[in-house]
């Protein structure tokens, strides 16, 4: 069964079907979407049963897509190639879960439902497609396809400053995609199919790009050349994905987009779209340009550490709850860069773990912000006090989400961060990529994380009750909100207490990453 294609194209096809339904049947669209989400969950459950922990890439589907003879220029070849491994499988699972929750949280969208849910479905397919595609051109198509629905979802269904936010988001990300495009073309010109005999077959296959022996001698990104071009390509590709991550100083689209986006879109943005950045670095940047990774390792780790501290400081200064959460995302994604820079097995496994964990926890955080915003239409921290006495169950989830996010052991966030620290601390003695002082400085981020969350709890939830905003009723959680928060809380707890159930999937990838692709690259380029 072509699981991955079904996962990717069921939402896309449903989106086309949804377009045929007249807009006046407003109830049909959320039900249709949730039907797709449920189907995806079932499909993913079946994938888990069929997943072989010992194998690497699997559930592969390969079809020829573009094959064009260019006479003297060789042959252009792009494939429809999708597969999952220890990196993408957890992220696909995360996407399926988050999209379900995003649909649930969009249940009360009133403005132009047809357009909203259609765009959500297209986004769904594009995100999963990006995580599965192993052909660079295919990935790029999916990657670009995410932008458009996102642009409209923020720009039409967003808050007061939605136009500014959506255009900023779009332009930032587009800049990143242009960088990616440039490098993609360079790679296409430099990589050939290994089995090609007479004519040169240029390929977009990432697996071939990861093998330096497939580089065409004398081409622009040939590794034998003392490679300033390769370093440039690394830098461009890295920045392309770092914008998506986002890393300081390419991050300012994130707070605006988050603050203006509706709750469901904030969830998708934080939980999934940011992960494309980390995923891209792990899938494309590092394995294809290991020499650049070694050369720039200080920079990558440095940007990570700066993001951790800088994001946390900004979160501390935020007056808006959503902005605070957005900056905390910047801080947490800094750990991803730190772990990647270490290029150790523990660090890489920690990065994948951190991405999954941040997906779960940040979704919770934005749901929490949304719960409050739905009731009062105000997100300013200073306008609230003593909410714990009025919204008891809500406060329980707030505490779970905040403490999970600040890295309390027992929640998934701790495992990811501690594994990244394991990797970063041993990097200096193991492969000398990350100097020891960097992770030591990064630990300050944990302290700052505790500071901004606890300060928020103290100001908003403890103390005597008062709310300075207009609201009809300040009810505790509804059953729909329960249904969204509870699975996420359970997942955060489960992955925090029993890390091995997720690490069993991730470990093979982390080992292949460090032992094969990465060391292969280092050895080939002394």
């Amino acid at each position: 069964m072509p699981y991955l294609s079904l996962l990717i194209f069921i939402p896309v096809v449903t989106a086309l079907v949804a377009l045929l339904i007249p807009a006046r049947y407003t109830r049909a669209f959320p039900w249709l979407t949730i039907g797709v989400n449920t189907l995806q969950v079932i499909l993913f459950a079946m994938m888990i049963l069929n997943y072989n922990l010992d194998a690497g890439l699997q559930l592969q589907e390969k079809h020829s897509w573009i094959s064009l003879s260019l006479n003297n220029w060789g042959r252009l070849q792009a494939e429809y190639l999708v597969a999952v491994d220890g990196l993408s499988f957890p992220l696909v699972g995360l996407s399926v879960l988050i999209m379900l929750i995003a649909t649930l949280s969009s249940w009360n969208v009133s403005k132009s439902r047809k357009g909203y849910f259609t765009l959500l479905l297209i986004l769904n397919g594009a995100i999963i497609g990006s995580f599965c595609a192993l052909d660079f051109l295919l990935f790029y198509v999916f990657f670009e396809f995410m932008l458009l629905p996102m642009f409209f979802l923020i720009g039409i269904w967003g808050g007061p400053k939605r136009e500014y936010a959506s255009i900023k988001f779009f332009l930032y990300t587009l800049l990143g995609s242009i960088f990616i495009l440039i490098v993609m073309i360079g790679l296409y010109l430099s990589v050939q199919l290994p089995e090609s005999s007479t004519e040169v077959v240029h390929t977009f296959n990432v697996l071939h790009m990861q093998n330096l022996q497939n580089l065409i001698p004398g081409s622009v990104l040939d590794s034998a050349k003392t490679g300033s071009w390769r370093l440039w390509a690394f830098a461009l590709l890295f920045i392309g994905f770092a914008i998506k991550l986002p890393a300081v100083p390419f991050h300012t689209w994130l707070p605006d987009a988050h603050v203006e986006a509706p709750t469901a879109i904030s969830i998708i943005l934080a939980a999934l779209l940011l992960k494309i950045g980390g995923y891209g670095i792990l899938r494309f940047v590092y394995p294809v340009f290991p020499d650049g990774a070694v050369y720039f390792s200080d920079w990558v780790a440095g940007i990570g550490v700066v993001s951790i501290i800088y994001g946390a400081l900004n979160a501390l200064a935020s007056k808006d709850l959503k902005r605070l959460i957005a900056y905390s995302s910047v801080s947490h994604m800094g750990f991803v860069l730190l772990g990647i820079a270490s290029a150790t097995t523990e660090g890489i496994a920690g990065v994948v773990y951190q991405m999954v964990s941040h997906g779960i926890i940040s979704a919770m955080l934005f749901l929490i912000a949304g719960v409050l915003y739905d009731r009062t239409h105000d997100r300013l921290i200073e306008n609230y006090s003593g909410l714990a006495s009025q919204m008891k169950h809500y406060t329980v989830f707030v505490l779970i989400a905040f403490f999970a996010s600040l890295g309390l052991p027992g929640f998934s966030g701790f495992i990811g961060e501690v594994l990244i620290f394991f990797g970063a601390f041993q990097s200096q003695s193991l492969n000398n990529l990350v100097p020891l002082w960097m992770p030591i400085v990064a630990t300050l981020g944990l302290l700052l994380g505790a500071a901004y969350y606890l300060w928020t709890i103290q100001r908003m939830f403890f103390g005597p009750f008062s709310v300075r905003a207009n609201f009809a009723e300040l009810n505790d959680l509804t059953s729909r909100e329960y249904a969204m928060l509870l699975p996420l809380a359970i997942a955060a707890l489960l992955f925090g207490i029993l890390p091995q159930i997720l690490l069993d999937y991730i470990n093979p990838f982390a080992e292949v990453f460090t032992n094969t692709w990465f060391s292969f690259g280092i050895n080939a380029n002394p």
Partner: protein, 622 residues
């Protein structure tokens, strides 16, 4: 897994069950929570006696892999040695006493579900830390302890001051925890494992660094200089919680981890520990003398006593320090619970009047009104002061002997000073609360029996008994089979110092204490506040940097692009279009001329044709 380890595992799980019940029982049946939770913890405390008394020498380890990547393996399990079993027994016993006491103390309070729930988690976290086989797991439970204390200190969450105290406690201990994390990571890089049984290091600079960082965690958790000012503030929590924090869980965790790790520490690390211990012991004693709040006096006394233990550990006197930790757990829990009784009954007597019942100057002559609490308090106070016949005396002598053997005169001086200062402040507390004629005319009743029993039991555990061999011993020295041989000169000196101290206390008993914490608390608060302010200020700086520089440069870029677009737009309109228009205009001009020519009249065509023909003929003729 052997029987005794199974029992330990059960004792670990019982508090979880207790917490689970507390969190899940409906509010309607809230009365049921305190009783069932207390019974559960009490049963665990009894259950652990079986492995405790069965075979003191037994050392077992049961562990399973919890996390494994490549060569990194972290295991969870149960380490069963005489030390862990005894510690766990004390934790469970004190926790059970606190639970039982809370039945009375929290009888009129709301939110007992949350209270007993987190007491359960707190106990579980401490037991997990005690049983842990791996330093990373220790760290996990260590953090969990911090979270539970945060939640319990902020139990009265509507009170802003309680919430602030909780935040402060969490952040200051977290500062230490960061050090712990760094330390254990360095240790891991150096030795490749974090299992207690395998961790071994050479004494190089890295090990010293790791040790000092880990010790920083202890400094935070055990409220040592300079990270101790969260502890007096933490008195905002309910008093039984303070008893638990001070006796068996939070602060004890720091000392316990040191007891396990001291063997891998280098001499330099130990030296740092000694100094921090000395400073804290002295500052704590001074602080206890300066404050008037009954709970704060006990809090500072804890800082002082823990400093004393750390000083002993720094000198390598592990068994003395550990014994003192266990003894301290009993008498400090007793003191706190007795203080809780006082506060409880005084609150009832004053009917919420605007009297600070925690200020010892407002208390007095409670001896007659609360005789049993008085006896319990007095025994525990004697143990704290180190008066012969109590457990505190024994462990103090152990440490004093160790110090004496170091042959450092100034160190001995310091230790004797602490020995002198301790009876001074605790006797004054006893005097003000129980003996001194009261300033008020309140009718105070003795605390209910459910609150008296724990105090009495804890006091009973603080008395030494004569063992067969004729040696004085306590429960702890008996079970640990500690050799207690106190040199006669130390014994005499110790008695002398304690006697003089008590005499001084007696003579100066009416000296009204100053209500000033300025020297210690305020100084550190200012210090902390300035760090907090600095951090928040940096945050606002980076935030404005974000807006002013990063965003502005992007806006500038965007505006530049738009300006460029306008420019090209203008060029498009005026130059490109202009030239096109120009061409078009020209064409139109010509077109106009030709159009005027092509006007559709046959005659004019004929005329033009004629003219053309004429011109052609003329040209041909030339």
């Amino acid at each position: 897994m052997s029987n005794s380890t199974t029992i330990l595992l059960i004792t670990l799980l019982i508090p979880v069950v207790s917490a689970g019940i507390a969190f899940s029982v409906k509010e309607k049946y809230g009365w049921f929570i305190p009783i069932i939770c207390s019974l559960l913890i009490l049963s665990a405390a009894i259950a652990i006696l079986f492995p405790l008394f069965s075979d003191p020498q037994l050392t077992e380890q049961f562990s399973k892999t919890w996390l494994s990547i490549d060569n990194t393996k972290i295991s969870v399990g149960i380490l069963s040695t005489s030390i862990t079993r005894l510690m766990a027994a004390v934790v469970l016993f004190v926790s059970a006493m606190v639970h039982i006491f809370s039945i009375g103390y929290m009888a009129d309070e709301k939110n007992t579900d949350r209270y007993f729930g987190f007491l359960g988690v707190f106990t579980f976290a401490m037991l997990g830390l005690v049983y842990s086989t791996n330093l990373l797991i220790t760290f996990c439970f260590w953090e969990l302890l911090g979270f539970c204390s945060y939640r319990l200190i902020a139990h009265a969450q509507q009170k802003t001051i309680a919430a602030q105290a909780a935040t402060k406690a969490f952040l200051i201990t977290k500062t230490g925890d960061i050090g712990f994390l760094i330390g254990l990571l360095i240790l891991w890089v150096q030795s490749g494992t974090l299992e207690f049984t395998y961790v071994s290091t050479t004494s190089d600079a890295w090990t010293t660094t790791a040790g000092v960082f880990i010790f920083l965690g202890v400094v935070g958790k055990s409220a040592q200089f300079p990270l101790f000012n969260w502890l007096p503030d933490a008195m905002q929590g309910p008093t039984p919680v303070s008893a638990l924090i001070h006796a068996a869980t939070m602060v004890a965790a720091g000392i316990f981890v040191l007891v396990q790790l001291v063997p891998v520490f280098t001499p330099d690390t130990l030296w740092v520990m000694t100094w921090v211990g000395i400073t804290s012991a002295l500052m704590g004693a001074v602080g206890a003398w300066l404050v008037t709040d009954i709970k704060k006096i006990l809090a500072y006394s804890t800082i002082s006593q823990l400093g004393f233990m750390i000083l002993a550990l720094g000198l390598g006197e592990v068994s003395g320090a550990f014994t003192h930790l266990l003894h301290h757990a009993f008498f400090k829990a007793g003191l706190f619970l007795a203080a809780g009784s006082i506060i409880h009954v005084m609150h009832q007597a004053t009917h919420q009047a605007n009297v600070d019942v925690q200020d010892i100057r407002n208390l007095g002559s409670l001896r007659k009104q609360m005789p049993i609490t008085f006896i319990g308090f007095a025994i525990c106070a004697a143990a704290l002061a180190g008066i012969p016949g109590t457990t505190g005396y024994l462990s103090k002598e152990l440490v004093l002997t160790a110090v004496h053997n170091k042959n450092l005169w100034w160190l001995e001086l310091v230790v004797w000073t602490i020995a002198f200062a301790t009876p001074l402040y605790i006797f004054r507390l006893l005097w003000f609360a129980f003996l001194k004629p009261a300033t008020h005319e309140l009718k105070v009743n003795e605390a209910p029996w459910i609150m008296r029993i724990p105090v009495v039991l804890l006091a009973a555990g603080s008395i030494t008994f004569l063992f067969r061999s004729g040696h004085l011993s306590s429960f702890a020295t008996q079970l640990l089979q500690t050799e207690i041989e106190i040199p006669t000169n130390i014994m005499i000196m110790s008695l002398l110092v304690t006697g003089v101290s008590l005499l001084t206390a007696c003579l100066s008993r009416n000296l009204s204490p100053r209500s000033s914490e300025f020297l210690i608390q305020n100084f550190l608060d200012v210090f902390n506040l300035s760090i907090v302010r600095l951090t928040v200020f940096t945050g606002s700086l980076t935030s404005s940097f974000d807006k002013k520089w990063i965003d502005r440069s992007i806006h500038t870029l965007a505006y530049g692009k738009v300006a460029l677009a306008h420019l090209t737009g203008w060029a498009d309109r005026n130059i490109v279009d202009g030239s096109v228009h120009g061409v078009a205009w020209l064409a139109r001009g010509f077109g106009g001329i030709t159009r005027s020519v092509v006007n559709g009249k046959i005659q004019s065509y004929l005329l033009w044709a004629m003219a053309g023909l004429l011109i052609f003929i003329i040209w041909m003729l030339n």
